[in-house]
């Protein structure tokens, strides 16, 4: 498998090199020759009116050829990049995550990134091109061209089409993400300053903890889990990085959504909306386990849960769990 991938990468790299060579060497040479002849030939002739019309024609033909070389260069490079990208689509810094919707959001991210790379590099190349080739050489005034309606219309219409395409794809992914499928597990998540309370309705299980106690929300894998998100005091944000998802916990509002995790594991998460003094440390974990493990966990919690919950609620008032290093400051009281 590894060798296959390596050979694929090697082949595509060679392909890219070949393509780049094909694209750059020949037109570059041609182009520089043209520029030279252009400079020496036409500047001298410019004042002779008799030959002006014929040289203008020649100039226009040469210009057109030069333009075609540039167009080929500009178009071919992204195609080469795409060919390379076809083998292994880069992550562009994001991660696929462990839920079904996190993966579709990740693919959307990849698509956006490829588009961004193409359009961004087109613009960068154009700017660099004009910086290199159109820098001031003397005291001459260039042609004072101001409008080119077909060109201007092109860069109105093409971006609109791109944007509509991006929006359409966004809608497909978004509809999956906000869909309300049948769920087998419901968890009530309540955020407060500065911790989390996870209640399993009908199971007599409550998990509560604040700041670095890092409370754990346990959920089964490969099942639709319904979350009811609320807040007791200020606005918090339920942000699970490995689920590629965040949702604000608003006081007075019940926010509902569904997860379907496809991998087991423990995922460090935290509040992401500024909520006061200990916002930086408002941690929680999401633990995805198999169905049997989930049931064992529920049972163990149901026995001990109530007592533990009340003990921690008492702690909450004294807030003794906050790390001492970060409490030595003014304004903590």
């Amino acid at each position: 498998m590894r060798t296959l991938v390596l050979s694929l990468v090697a082949r595509s790299t060679a392909f890219l090199h070949g393509l780049a060579g094909l694209v750059t060497s020949e037109p570059f040479a041609l182009h520089s020759r043209e520029t030279d002849s252009d400079a020496s030939l036409f500047r001298g002739l410019d004042t002779h009116h008799s030959v002006k019309s014929s040289t203008k024609l020649l100039e226009r033909i040469l210009n057109r050829r030069r333009l075609w070389c540039r167009v080929r260069r500009v178009v071919a490079l992204p195609i080469a990049a795409l060919a390379l990208a076809g083998c292994t689509v880069p992550t562009f810094g994001a991660a696929p995550g462990v839920t079904t919707s996190s993966r579709s959001a990740y693919h959307l991210w990849q698509g956006f990134s490829i588009g961004a790379a193409l359009i961004g590099s087109l613009v960068v190349v154009l700017i660099l091109w004009t910086m290199v080739f159109h820098r001031r050489k003397g005291d001459n005034i260039p042609e004072q061209s101001q409008y080119h309606i077909p060109l201007e219309l092109t860069y109105v219409i093409v971006p609109i089409l791109i944007v509509i395409g991006l929006f359409a794809w966004t809608m497909v992914v978004e509809n999956q993400e906000v869909a309300n499928p049948k769920t087998s597990v419901t968890i009530n998540v309540n955020a407060f300053q500065w911790g989390w309370k996870f209640t399993y309705p009908g199971q007599d299980v409550v998990v509560i903890g604040q700041t670095t106690q890092n409370p754990e929300m346990v959920m089964p894998v490969n099942e639709n889990v319904h979350i009811n998100l609320t807040s007791t005091d200020v606005i918090h944000s339920f942000y699970v990085h490995d689920f590629n998802f965040s949702r604000l916990a608003l006081p007075g509002v019940l926010n509902q959504f569904t997860f379907r995790a496809v991998n087991t594991g423990t995922f460090q998460s935290q509040c992401s909306e500024i909520c006061g003094l200990y916002h930086s440390l408002m941690y929680f974990r999401v633990k995805v386990v198999t169905r049997p493990q989930y049931e064992v966990w529920l049972e163990s919690k149901a026995n001990a849960g109530v007592a533990q919950a009340s003990r921690i609620t008492n702690n909450q008032q004294t807030s003794s769990v906050v790390p001492t290093k970060l409490t030595k400051s003014k304004g903590d009281n």
Binding site: G120, H134, R136, E143, L248, G252, S272, I274, S329, K330
Partner: protein, 563 residues
């Protein structure tokens, strides 16, 4: 060529000195209603605010260099990022653009003697100064400055969660600067509509003036909403109303709607003036007219119109807004911005580009804004916003945007500074400043994009469970220090070049009316005006044989130019 008449002289250099004899020295600065002096006060004050906001940023970046740093406490950290954002957005970027440069330039660019309401203009400045001082005074109160983030989300900003006087001073300061912005908006709109010189039709106005007109209208539409919201917030805090509190039947999300209904147009209120500055700099240093002038104007108007309908893209993760509508509106705003980009490139294309410091800053703006703009398109997509919202990805995105604006601002200062003061700045130090600033910005923002994608939330003072984020944070701090060095270089340059290099009236072969008058301009701006027959009256006067050409028309020396 002979068609261009020498403009009649309207006044002699000596005339105004006698007619407008007024106080000198400090009294002149305190009592003036001259838009140039008010504008200069605005510019200097806002640059001081930039330095203060920058110093706060350096402390923030220093705190984040290790995962559990104790340079500042959690409480102090919350004050720092709140005041950093507030100072930069409320007290620097906006006032610098529409109070500073626009105040000085718009009347001159349209051939007017002053703003339409000079005393209102003075009131704007004094409100702004008092508002700034009020907001910063929060640091000297017992509970410290405001600490709920520059967006002040209710109910965190109510009197239970943020009881201190710092928050009240923040609200009061913001109200004052808000009124100053509204008055400037009134003034700019009236000036542009009513005080244009003969011949200066709307479609002959420089792009900077056009952008300021759209900005002023946006100010008039958006800022009163913020003012109303702040009064509601103040009533909730002190007069027992329950507009944003659940307990009394209020709705906390209402604050977000009000805030962002101002806040998103505010993004364009900040950006459009700097777009305008760049659109003035690029054609002059390319020796070409603005490519697609009318397209540029319509793009600006489209941005202004769309910006009023995209506010809820800041609220995608609240779960209580209609996602598709705000998503498509946010996507669409990329189109006019893209048009502007291609017009800027079209202006440079086949030009004769002179890489002065101002032009370098403008090109740096293009690259940096490109990054910020493209990452903005990602955030218009709710599924992507769900995992990047409130992370460092968003922080990086809007810092790419605002740092691009800083590049534009610096470009504006290098470009128009000689007109305002009469003296050029040193180009060598200027170029050093540019490279520190430009490279610093990229080193500063790129690690933050990656940090956001790895899950680092914004507004955290420590990340003890994620020591692996440390390296990227250190790198970002290096970038922030480079930006700091660039600011120091700017100050050094001002000191070094002080009255050293006389600029003359038209050092850059400019296009617009401000380059026709003296540097600095006289009391009522002009001794004489050229004929205004295009959006480049000064260029037409200096180069009567090189008017702008539409597509398909080539230069022909024999033809008599139509002036």
């Amino acid at each position: 060529m002979t068609d261009v008449l020498d403009p009649p002289i309207l006044a002699q250099p000596g005339d105004h000195g006698h007619a407008h004899e007024g106080p000198t020295g400090i009294l002149k600065w305190l009592t003036t209603t001259d838009h140039k002096i008010i504008g200069l006060s605005y510019t200097v004050t806002s640059v001081i605010m930039m330095v203060i906001g920058g110093a706060l940023a350096e402390i923030i970046r220093a705190q984040l260099t290790s995962s559990n740093n104790s340079l500042v406490s959690l409480a102090q950290y919350n004050e720092l990022f709140t005041m950093h954002g507030s100072v930069m957005i409320y007290l620097f970027a906006g006032p610098f653009a529409f109070g500073g440069l626009a105040n000085i330039l718009v009347p001159i660019q349209i051939g007017a003697p002053d703003m339409a309401f000079p005393r209102l203009n003075a009131l704007s400045y004094w409100l702004y100064l008092m508002g700034s001082i009020t907001m910063l005074m929060g640091f000297f109160t017992a509970g410290g400055a405001a600490n709920f983030g520059w967006v002040a989300y209710a109910p965190l900003s109510n009197s239970i969660n943020t009881p201190g006087a710092g928050a009240d001073l923040w609200i009061a300061g913001l109200l004052l600067t808000g009124f100053s912005a509204i008055f400037t908006g009134v003034n700019l709109t009236a000036t542009i509509f009513y005080l244009r010189a003969p011949g200066m039709t709307m479609f002959r106005m420089p792009i900077f003036t056009w952008n300021m007109l759209v900005t002023a209208i946006l100010i008039l539409l958006a800022f009163p909403v913020l003012t109303a919201g702040l009064i509601m917030l103040y009533c909730d805090r002190h007069f027992g109303t329950h507009i944003f509190s659940v307990q009394g039947g209020g709705v906390p999300v209402l604050w977000q709607h009000i805030f962002w209904f101002w806040g998103h147009p505010e993004v364009y209120i900040l950006a459009l003036p700097f777009f305008g500055m760049v659109t003035e700099i690029i054609p002059v240093f390319s020796r070409k007219p603005v490519f697609g002038y009318k397209g540029m104007v319509f793009a600006t108007m489209t941005i202004g119109a769309l910006s009023l309908g995209v506010w809820a893209h800041h609220m995608f993760t609240t779960g209580v807004v209609l996602l598709p509508f705000f998503s498509i509106m946010s996507f669409l705003i990329a189109v006019p911005t893209g048009i502007k980009f291609f017009n800027w490139i079209g202006t440079m294309w086949r030009g004769e580009i002179w890489f002065s410091t101002a032009m370098l800053m403008a090109i740096g703006f293009l690259f940096t804004f490109l990054v910020g703009g493209i990452t903005g398109i990602y955030l218009a997509s709710p599924p992507i916003d769900f995992f990047t919202h409130d992370t460092y990805f968003v922080v990086a995105h809007f810092h790419s945007i605002v740092m691009a604006l800083v590049l534009g601002a610096m470009g504006g200062l290098y470009y128009w500074g000689p007109k305002i003061t009469g003296y050029l700045l040193n180009e060598t130090i200027g170029k050093m400043q540019f490279w520190f600033l430009f490279i610093g910005i990229q080193v500063f923002t790129f690690p933050m994009y990656l940090l956001g994608l790895r899950g680092m939330p914004r507004r955290v003072a420590a990340y003890p469970l994620h020591p692996s984020w440390q390296t990227l944070n250190e790198l970002s701090t290096v970038g922030a220090v480079m930006i700091g060095v660039s600011t120091v270089l700017f100050m050094v340059n001002i000191g070094y070049s002080w009255k050293k290099y006389p600029a003359g009236d038209n050092p850059w072969d400019g296009h617009t009316l401000e380059w026709f008058t003296t540097s600095p301009p006289p009391h009522h701006n002009f001794y004489r005006l050229p004929r205004i027959r295009s959006e480049r009256p000064t260029w037409d006067y200096n180069h009567p044989d090189r008017p702008a050409k539409a597509h398909g028309h080539h230069d022909n020396q024999d033809e008599v130019p139509v002036v």
